[in-house]
Symmetry: C2
Subunit: 132 residues, 2 copies
DNA sequence: CGGGGTAACTCTCCATTGGTAAGTAGGCAC
DNA sequence: GTGCCTACTTACCAATGGAGAGTTACCCCG
């Protein structure tokens, strides 16, 4: 058979994708920032400079402690924040953006600005869609 | 009691958050684009102009049909893409970006550019973190 | 010396989400 | 009729994320 069914084409594309995605940097970053809490941590740290764990927990109040530690760890691993432990009475942990983290945050602010500028249009589109 | 325990502070912050988040447009948008597939659909449509359902399925090959329909529906609802059905033999469905969708895509390209420029630094940070 | 309080986690359980695979509708080709 | 096409929809199942309690390590008060 010289022609392929749609199912076969999908199958083939899937294999190509598996190989492709492993080494694609923009895709890796996408996975990183496609995490709801990453953007919020970045924004909070950019606003306040240095913040403690509990401060962050209050600022992005909806976050669970589990997800906060998890997010901060991965950001630290990627070199976007620095984690510094001060051995005070109850231990104090501070987080700060690195220059790299700051540069990413600038792009994020662009998204925030877009949201504020266009959210009313989006809302109108939603209302219209739901009405029909 | 005039002072609050940390637990009580967290509880209070949580209530404030619930009220805050419901009406915050930038947060709503964040939830929208914090979906892995949204960015990819946007990028694909911006590249190719109009695409059919199966074309998109092949382009972002890792996507399941379920998630593709789901993503496209929500983008349509938000006025970022248009869906047009042509009643040909097997029905043909085309998707195109609206001007609104295009404007969001421009920001996304900024992120892509950041990724390509900085992914090597991130990778180096990861390696170092994993090594110690 | 023991009980209580604190910060930053860590663990356990459960609900929601996303992936896989199979099924559906309507029409044409055989 | 049987089978195949596109664009879904549905059923099931594994993984992810949230809620909340538990843990560690320390100090202070009585």
């Amino acid at each position: 058979m010289s022609t392929m069914t749609a199912a076969q084409q999908r199958e083939q594309a899937k294999v190509a994708y598996d190989a492709f995605v492993a080494g694609c940097p923009s895709r890796q970053l996408l996975d990183r920032i496609s995490d709801k809490w990453v953007a919020l941590v970045l924004a909070a740290l950019a606003d306040e400079g240095t913040m403690r764990f509990s401060q962050l927990g209050r600022r992005l109040a909806g976050v669970s402690q589990k997800m906060l530690t998890q997010t901060l760890r991965s950001l630290e691993r990627d070199g976007l924040v620095v984690r510094s432990v001060t051995p005070t009475v109850p231990v104090t942990v501070d987080y700060t953006l690195t220059p790299l983290g700051e540069s990413l945050d600038e792009l994020m602010r662009g998204l925030k600005a877009w949201a504020e500028a266009h959210m009313d249009v989006v809302q109108a589109a939603r209302d219209e869609y739901d009405a029909r």
